[in-house]
């Protein structure tokens, strides 16, 4: 311990930094055997509160993570023993208490965050709560913050998180990395949840909504974590590349007046070069592993867009090929729409419209803004003005981002001429 006492503010800053780095590690370690994520979080919350009281008085411990683990473990065991006065002690619980108490070297405790992530994204957990659960259990985000990013009430989000954690404990969902034969399939659900978190954070293009911007950053952090803890998984690298490509254009998506700028009209100089380079090298490494997947293909499409915008040379043929391959992995209307837009660049707007003809009237797309915006664009280019206006109307009505609404409105006006 250092002799200099700290100010409360400094202690709080250090606690925040440690929390970000260590929260999930500590939760995963404490909950690994009991599968009681809730109890682990409670113990950690008490440990952080103790840190904020102790550190300003006694100085920052040399190893804040170890300090927190010692306190959290004691609180966790206390809670366990208290509950055991009225509850039975199973043999397994007994062993875990002994195991936890016996671990003397706290500087090096195992990083079991990946196991925790696999539990959060377990197929037995409702698909809609996997991303929020991961954000809470691994990164310590509170329910209110997650709720605001996912546009639900804090009470509802809190309830759903509690229920999901109960399911982990009651149903006996293990906090561990799945066996080799299941690993790829299960990793997909983890990556999907991370992507969902990123996409939710990406919606706020202007970055004025702090909760959302941070959500995108947290998703990138989670994805980096997976690539570090599970190296050599090409799809994890593919997803990280994909979201880094998107992230690199965050600033360019708005002009000086705060208006929305579509990718084709963005200034390449506004893109974050370092982030793009990182994405490119990740993608190359992933592809060298020779196990293609959805996220690598989506990353490759982004890479092709970057190459075109930088060089000015059209490469729509390549983009359409990549979308064709992607369709075989993810046969979703969302992919089909983007593919149609690429086809339109290559063979004309009518060919683009033909490519999505089969989705007209699809109930899944009725409230999907990109469907209406893409259709409006293609209809306008083929001169079907009235239909285009109608599609623009619906797209505008479905959009929740003000600058994007104004952008669509300008396009709509241009059609009227």
């Amino acid at each position: 311990m250092t002799a200099n006492p700290w100010s409360g503010a400094q202690a709080s800053i250090t606690a925040d930094a440690v929390a970000r780095r260590s929260y999930g590690k500590l939760v995963a370690f404490l909950a690994a055997r009991t599968r009681d994520v809730d109890a682990a979080e409670d113990a950690l919350a008490e440990a952080f509160a103790a840190a904020l009281a102790d550190w300003p008085r006694n100085g920052c411990p040399a190893n804040p993570e170890a300090w927190l683990l010692t306190v959290a473990r004691r609180k966790f065991l206390d809670a366990l023993r208290n509950s055991r006065r009225t509850e039975p002690a199973s043999d397994e619980l007994e062993r875990m208490v002994e195991g936890l108490a016996a671990a003397t070297d706290e500087r090096e405790f195992p990083d079991q965050r990946l196991g925790l992530m696999f539990a959060c994204a377990h197929p037995a957990i409702d698909v809609g709560i996997r991303a929020p659960l991961m954000l809470q259990a691994v990164l310590g985000l509170d329910a209110a913050k997650i709720a605001s990013a996912f546009l639900v009430s804090p009470a509802t989000m809190g309830q759903r998180l509690v229920r999901a954690k109960q399911k982990i404990r009651q149903a006996g969902i293990p906090l561990r990395i799945p066996e080799r034969e299941e690993l790829r399939e299960r990793l997909e659900t983890v990556l999907d949840a991370i992507y969902a978190a990123f996409a939710e954070g990406w919606i706020d293009a202007s970055g004025t909504d702090v909760a959302r911007r941070e959500l995108a950053e947290e998703a990138i952090y989670l994805c980096r974590l997976v690539t570090e803890l599970l190296p050599g998984e090409p799809e994890a690298m593919g997803l990280l590349a994909l979201i880094l490509y998107a992230e690199s254009r965050r600033r360019a998506r708005r002009d000086a007046q705060g208006e929305y700028v579509p990718m084709a009209e963005q200034r390449v100089e506004d893109w974050d070069t370092a982030t793009i380079e990182e994405a490119e090298s990740l993608l190359m490494r992933a592809c060298s592993l020779d196990l293609l997947g959805r996220y690598q293909l989506e990353g490759a499409i982004q890479s092709a867009h970057v190459a075109r915008c930088r060089s000015g040379r059209a490469n729509w043929n390549e983009v359409v090929q990549l979308y064709n391959a992607l369709l075989s992995y993810a046969h979703s209307p969302v992919v089909a729409i983007n593919r149609a837009l690429a086809i339109a660049e290559l063979e004309g707007a009518q060919a683009g419209l033909d490519a999505i003809e089969g989705f007209v009237g699809d109930p899944r797309l009725v409230e999907y803004q990109p469907w209406w915006a893409a259709r409006a664009e293609l209809l306008a280019r083929t001169g079907r003005r009235e239909e285009a206006q109608h599609a623009y109307d619906i797209a505008i009505g479905l959009e929740r981002d003000e600058p994007v609404r104004r952008f669509l409105d300008r396009r709509r006006s241009a059609v009227i001429g």
Partner: protein
């Protein structure tokens, strides 16, 4: 942890089968039961008489009524169960996936709420109450 697999299927499917098919079906269940036994995870298992043989009791207005027939009148009926003991849900799901019942019906997997024989209390109940 112990898990209960409850097996639901459309009973009329069985009666429509030829004797050979029925024999084959029964053989699949026998083999599955043997595999569970050999792995040392089976606690118990049973096939139930048809749901038409069920009798249901409930109390209405303070009076206990005895009714002929099953509780749930659905397309799929409860036809049998397996009680197994494995480390976690993943292991339980791996076994459930091999159950012949998945091929012609639905298998529900539920963890048993274990009770301490000494205190006669259920695990986790006190902490649940404390949370509320």
């Amino acid at each position: 942890m112990q898990y209960l697999f409850t097996l639901y299927a459309d009973e009329s499917g069985w009666t429509k089968m030829t004797p050979e098919q029925q024999q084959q079906g029964a053989g699949a269940y026998a083999a599955y039961t043997e595999a569970l036994k050999a792995a040392g995870v089976l606690k118990s298992s049973n096939r139930l008489q048809p749901s038409s043989s069920a009798t249901t009791l409930r109390t209405t207005n303070g009076k206990t009524q005895v009714l002929d027939g099953p509780f749930a009148d659905s397309k799929e009926q409860l036809g049998g169960y397996y009680l197994i003991d494995v480390p976690d849900l993943d292991a339980a799901l791996a076994w459930a996936g091999r159950c012949p019942g998945v091929g012609h019906g639905v298998v529900e997997v539920r963890a048993i709420w274990s009770m301490d024989p000494a205190t006669q209390k259920y695990e986790g109940e006190a902490s649940l109450a404390a949370k509320k």
